[in-house]
Structures are given as C-alpha cells and as structure tokens.
C-alpha cells in the first residue's frame, strides 16, 4: 500500500507543482510591502500561497484573500522561504499546525486514496461497461433499417395495448 501511495503521491505532486511553478504569478490580494525583493523567491512564495487555503474564507487561497489571517500566513510563508526552507518543508510545517484542511491540493494518503484513484477507475469502469455491452449486443444482425424497426416496434406495442393478437 505504501509503495503505491508513494508512487501516486510522487506523480500527483508533480503535475500541479510543475503547472504552477512555470506559470508567471498573478498577484492577487498582495501588497507591495509583502513582496520579497528577490523575484525568484517571490515566485516561489506566490506558488506556495496558491496551494494554501485561507481558513476563514469561503474557498480562497491565501494568495487571493484579503483576510488578516491570509496576510499573516503569506508573511509566514515568506519568512520561511527567507530562512532557506524548501517548498515541501513549508507545506509540511503549515500542515502540522492547521491540518490537511489548509492544503488546497489534497494529500495522497489512505484517506484520499479513493479520491485520487477514482478518475482512473471511472474511465476503466466505463470502458469495461461499454465493451461488455457491445459483446452482448452483437447478437442479432440488423435485418431491418432502424427506422423501419422502430415502426414495427411501435405497431407491435399498439396492437398489444389494444389486445389484438400478434400476427
């Protein structure tokens, strides 16, 4: 279980992290004073901020929010960056204080295995159902044109409803 978890965790962390690190940051509720002098560090700070939830807002990241707590957490992130901590450490530290709830990207562990597995499972299940249905549907060759077949079906139904014997 742990090996699979680790692999998934790795793959899953990779995707959004790459997506975010390489995109130019869009400043949201930030003020000029909060920004770090070094643009590379500031980029890191914004990327991290976009992965952290503002706990007193309705579904916003601390990067987007104007709330006081968001501002404090943004400052905390930058303080940590300046002390040389790497991204994972900062996220782990905040997670240790506020729980998984503060991460906008749900962690990969036993509790969220279903969440992360589900998309693949859905596709596989759907594909299997479609293929299974086809194997069984291939039974009768199509003698009639679909339009004609429907007219026959409708007539049969009407006759049945009126109690006439099928001819």
């Amino acid at each position: 279980m742990t090996v699979i978890t680790a692999v998934i965790r790795g793959l899953v962390m990779l995707f959004p992290t790459i997506m975010m690190v390489s995109m130019p940051p869009a400043a949201r509720a930030i003020t000029a004073e909060e920004m770090l002098a070094d643009p590379a560090l500031e980029t890191r700070a914004r990327t991290l901020s976009k992965q952290l939830r503002c706990l007193v807002c309705q579904n916003q990241s601390i990067d987007d929010s104007d709330a006081d707590l968001a501002r404090d957490l943004r400052r905390e992130v930058r303080t940590q960056i300046l002390t040389g901590a790497d991204d994972q450490t900062i996220l782990i530290q905040l997670r240790a204080k506020y729980g998984d709830y503060v991460l906008l990207n749900p962690p990969v562990d036993r509790a969220t295995l279903a969440l992360w597995f589900a998309p693949v499972a859905f596709i596989a299940l759907g594909g299997l159902l479609v293929l299974a249905a086809r194997r069984q549907k291939q039974a009768a060759p199509a003698i009639l044109d679909p339009e004609d077949r429907e007219r026959v079906d409708r007539l049969m139904r009407q006759r049945r409803q009126k109690g006439r014997p099928k001819r």
């Binding site: 007193v56 006081d68 707590l69 997670r95 204080k97 506020y98 709830y101 159902l129 249905a133």
Partner: protein, 184 residues
Amino acid sequence: MTQPRLSFLLPLLAFITLAAVGATALYGTLTGSRTPDQLPSVLIGTQAPQTPLPSLDQSGSGAPVDLGRFRGAPVLVNFFASWCAPCRAEAPALEMLSDRVKIVGIAYKDRANDTMSFLEQYGNPFAAIGMDVDGRTGIEWGVYGVPETYVIDADGTVKYRHAGPLTREVIDQRLMPLIEGGGS
C-alpha cells in the same frame, strides 16, 4: 434482455450513496453533532508549543510568559483580543472558570494599551498574559480566529480546542471533564 442488468442499476446505486452522504450530513448539522465551523486542532495529543511571549502587566515590564511554569495541573490557554466582540461575550464564563483552573491569556494581534483597557472593562481572569503582537504565536498554535481556548493537561499535552466564544454547554460538556480528569 441482452445487457447485463447490473450496469443499469449503477446510476441508482451511485445516487443512493450521494443521498446518504447528504442525509447524514444534514442530520448531523440539525442535531448539532456535526460542527462544520469547528476545525479540529491538529495539535491535540501533542505537546503544547512552548514559545515564550513578552508578558503584559501593569508596569509594562515583566518576565516572559512560559507555559512550562504551569506544569503539574491542567491549564487553559485562551487567545483573545480587545477588538474581538465575541471575546467580550465569553468574559463572564472565563471569570467563572478562573476559580477552578488557571487560565493563560494570549492577546492576539493587539496593542498593550488596548488589551489593558479591555481587561479593566471586562475583568481579568488570567493567571498570566502574553502578547502575541504579530500573530506568529497564533500560527504556531494553529489559531484561525479569536477567541480560541485550548485545554492543556498536567503534562503539557493539548487535549482539546474550542474555536469561538465559550458557552455553558461547551464548558460543562467538554472542558470540565478534561479539567477535572486532571492528568494525562
């Protein structure tokens, strides 16, 4: 007929699962067993953070507040602020509690003068008061709003956190059992 019957049942089963989640959640919300605005504290079961804080007292000087001083008996840690309206509402409750257990107050993002005025007006139930001027101690504790109250047992382990003003119910049902339970 020709299609496996089961696949036609799947949508219904999926819906029933979803409805069950919704129904359980609603039931919990209506009976009060579910408290969505209370974030469970991650610190529960761990040692309380030991960050010493500059103390507030009438002369403005004093030894820094250190939780280690209170080992040996349960203690409450209450985050409050002069600008926090619900904190005023819970002041009487804290007064009453202070007879039974020591309470350490942490003034969260507040100014010394404002804190002192607040205490003069609403009473001072605290055995010691620390000043968390920039909110960093709050982050240490996982505070996300004021007021918040933590129950620390005799060994210094965090046992419980209540976010929001203390009510009679919370005190009787949650805090007192832990305080009277005493130790670990």
